[in-house]
């Protein structure tokens, strides 16, 4: 589904990603872990098409298409979803109105008819249960005055509504208490299918107790320096990142 080859990206001339290789197949869950500043969130942003990042080398194909060639909105319409680490507030625009605009633009791109109000609301009611989100929250201005947990739940709710093929969760666990973490993870797990894939970007192993990954990758200094199964995450939890850092840094100095 997603193939990343030798991906290099920089921001304002500073290289952040220095040759990422990754293959994600349908039905898989990949966790990207790593110390602060290793490039985890940059990878998520580059895949979604954030403009501040310049891709200097490498290629990314998504469902056979050159992903880097697509505008951010077209990547979304092709089925790439990014759950933001810091969801943005849009005053005066209700979540409902926002989502309806989004869904209908995605549908238009795919040659589908716009959803009428009744169908849209029926769908909303159904998906709301997944993340235990209150309808009142959805009629308020998007993310304005939402608590950290409400914002993250709203991200997963949007994901449920947009039914993406590739979901990238960028530090979705940050700022969540244990209950919210459970609810959010529960939502993500219910959305999992053999046809879609998930990339979970996280600093802590905690989230991976709930969303169990098939693969775990450690990102350090812009490269994937170690890959493994979910046991790797447990090892990291126990030993921290220093042993990996040391191994890589000593290699580099040789």
């Amino acid at each position: 589904m997603l193939t990343i080859k030798n991906l290099h990206a920089s921001i304002e001339g500073t290289p952040i990603l220095r040759g990422i290789n990754l293959e994600v197949k349908a039905g898989e869950v990949h966790a990207i872990m790593g110390p602060n500043g290793s490039g985890k969130s940059t990878l998520a942003s580059v895949l979604a098409g954030r403009e501040e990042y310049e891709v200097t080398e490498g290629e990314v194909t998504f469902k056979g298409k050159d992903l880097l060639d697509l505008a951010p909105e077209d990547r979304a319409r092709e089925g790439v979803f990014l759950a933001f680490q810091y969801p943005v507030e849009i005053p005066g625009v209700s979540s409902t109105n926002f989502l309806r605009t989004a869904i209908n633009q995605v549908r238009e791109y795919r040659g589908l008819e716009a959803l009428d109000a009744v169908k849209f609301l029926t769908m909303m009611k159904e998906k709301m249960k997944l993340v235990e989100i209150d309808q009142k929250l959805l009629s308020r201005s998007l993310n304005e005055g939402f608590s950290g947990g409400e914002k993250k739940r709203n991200e997963i709710f949007q994901m449920a509504m947009l039914e993406p093929t590739l979901s990238i969760l960028d530090e979705t666990d940050s700022g969540l208490d244990i209950d919210a973490l459970r609810i959010v993870s529960n939502g993500v797990n219910q959305l999992k299918s053999k046809d879609n894939a998930t990339i979970v970007v996280t600093h802590y192993q905690r989230l991976l107790d709930y969303i169990v990954p098939d693969y775990v990758h450690v990102l350090y200094k812009g490269r994937i320096v170690k890959s493994g199964t979910k046991e790797l995450a447990l090892e990291l939890e126990e030993k921290g990142y220093d042993w990996i850092k040391e191994a890589i840094d000593s290699e580099a100095t040789v």
Binding site: A48, R50, E51, V88, V93, Q158
Partner: protein, 481 residues
Amino acid sequence: MSKDNQILEELTSKEYEHGWSVNFEADEAPIGLNEEIIRWISAKKEEPEWLLEWRLKAFKTWQSMTEPTWANVTYPKIDLQSLRYYSAPKQNNKPKSLDEVDPELLQIYERLGINLNEQKKLQGIAVDAVLDSVSVATTFKGTLSKLGIVFCSFSEAVKEHPELVKKYLGSVVPMTDNYYAALNSAVFSDGSFCYIPKGVRCPMELSTYFRINAANTGQFERTLIVAEDEAYVSYLEGCTAPQRDENQLHAAVVEIYAAKNAEVKYSTVQNWFPGDKNGKGGIYNFVTKRGICAGDHSKISWTQVETGSAVTWKYPSCILKGDHSIGEFYSVAVTNNYQQADTGTKMIHIGKNTKSRIVSKGISAGKSQNSYRGQVQVMKRADNARNFSQCDSLLMGDRCGAHTFPYIDINNSSAKVEHEATTSKIGEDQLFYCNQRGISTEDAVALIVNGYAKEVLNQLPMEFAVEAQKLLALTLEGSVG
């Protein structure tokens, strides 16, 4: 080029939708401004002697006045002698009813989306259509007159209801009020007149649609709305003009009189030609609008959506004379390219327990300048006056300006005046967030701007609100990449 700038470039390349003009035979005054021209206009309109005297007196005063320069706008000096002060489509016989109006004129309005055919027209809105210097048609006059409501062109009101016109003309905006109001008083050609008798709630929205068609002609219309005790009316005003390279002057005066327990809602969607993307052409919109809450418990509410004009200079105001009277001002002003707007309101608290509310939302894009200028004045006897003002500015790109000039003048210690102001930018973060959900940048801008202006748009009558939303999106289309 940054993303913001790209978006702006695209937005600004959008064409003005109503830029066309129509050729028809016109009845025109000679170019220039002098006493003769004023006599010519007055004679053309077969006006009574007192009105001619009134005009001439205004003209004399005007001659001794100088153009105000305090507004935060710059434009080359207007040569008032090179303008034409009257231009009207030639109609052979004065049409007595809508059926007799030249279909070609009706077509102009149809093209603007204003249907003057009463049968086809949606129920609920009566329209007075003003083209250049004259009113060409007014709908639903019959229906309204059964309730004692007078809704007609100003010229007609002078003929049919001279006592009302004489009583209220200049009573809210004196002819000597300011440079452009004095000029308007001298040369005004037409406009709308509306009178709601005691105890009557006007059952439909009344509206005037102003259209400038002729080149090189100034439009000077005058609107007078009188609501007697316990009366209610909601009034709408729309305006467009053809796209021309020269600037054109529009200097209108609107007066509103609200008696005891009366309520008047006045809504404007101003979409005069704003000039092209290089700042060439466009309307100079120098307008004086004022209402007086003369009676106790009366209420006047101004709502404006300002998207057009090259230069706007406009402060719809309320004089809160009656005890417990209420004044409201809701405004969205959008400027793009080289547009300049200096707009706001004045709330003058005279009566006791008077309340005013100001909500102003400025949106600047391109290289435009957008200023809010507002005054809250509480007089000595105005015990327990309350004011709440909120002035927000939204910037798009980094080449435009937003300015706020609040003036507060309190002469009574029991007054409570609150002022809140915010300035924000449409962030790349907001746009990216929308994009990431599959929303195109243009639609994202429309969504964000409409959300920002929601509180004001909610004040507009339903049909108008939808139009205004579209207009906001259109004005800013392409402003973000």
